[in-house]
Amino acid sequence: DAGITQSPRHKVTETGTPVTLRCHQTENHRYMYWYRQDPGHGLRLIHYSYGVKDTDKGEVSDGYSVSRSKTEDFLLTLESATSSQTSVYFCAISTATNEKLFFGSGTQLSVL
């Protein structure tokens, strides 16, 4: 498996609190992605990064921000968590946009 570590693996938080999820890779891949997985919706792209300090929005970016200060780390922040953000969050990496994605093990986030 590709060297991708997501932390935490599980988190329960309250509405209105800030939450940061971390994705760490040891593969030196240029591209990193944050997806959320919800029943019936498959995976939806939240944000992605094509290099250090280079990020762009995905299809469901509202309520989320990201930062990539180092190649190996891609942080996803929920500034003020809402119940609609209860989901499983997956980080993914790739060497190029047209190459396959390697996924992390996911973070189960519950917002009460």
Binding site: Y31, Y33, Y35, G40, H41, G42, L43, R44, L45, Y48, Y50, D56, G58, E59, F90, A92, T97, N98, K100, L101, F103, G104, S105, G106
Partner: protein, 116 residues
Amino acid sequence: AQSVSQHNHHVILSEAASLELGCNYSYGGTVNLFWYVQYPGQHLQLLLKYFSGDPLVKGIKGFEAEFIKSKFSFNLRKPSVQWSDTAEYFCAVNARDKAAGNKLTFGGGTRVLVKP
């Protein structure tokens, strides 16, 4: 923007039966196509991909998929399934047009249950 539609949300079949999962996409330009699989409790992993060339591509574990450009389809097939094929399957599309952005769009997924 591209979109992906998987017609079946749930499929139940017996071992040794044949499997075909439908996938249609909407995008007018050139695309790359993927099928990913997620086994229970695991993360997604690539089954197969199509970039160009022979429209019939073979992947791991006996899966294959056929790209039919005129139908905007990329259906996944396996002639004889096993209990271990129980999983959720996702079709995904990546538009090659730079203007479309570097985004891989996933379908809603199809849960496949293979009964022993």
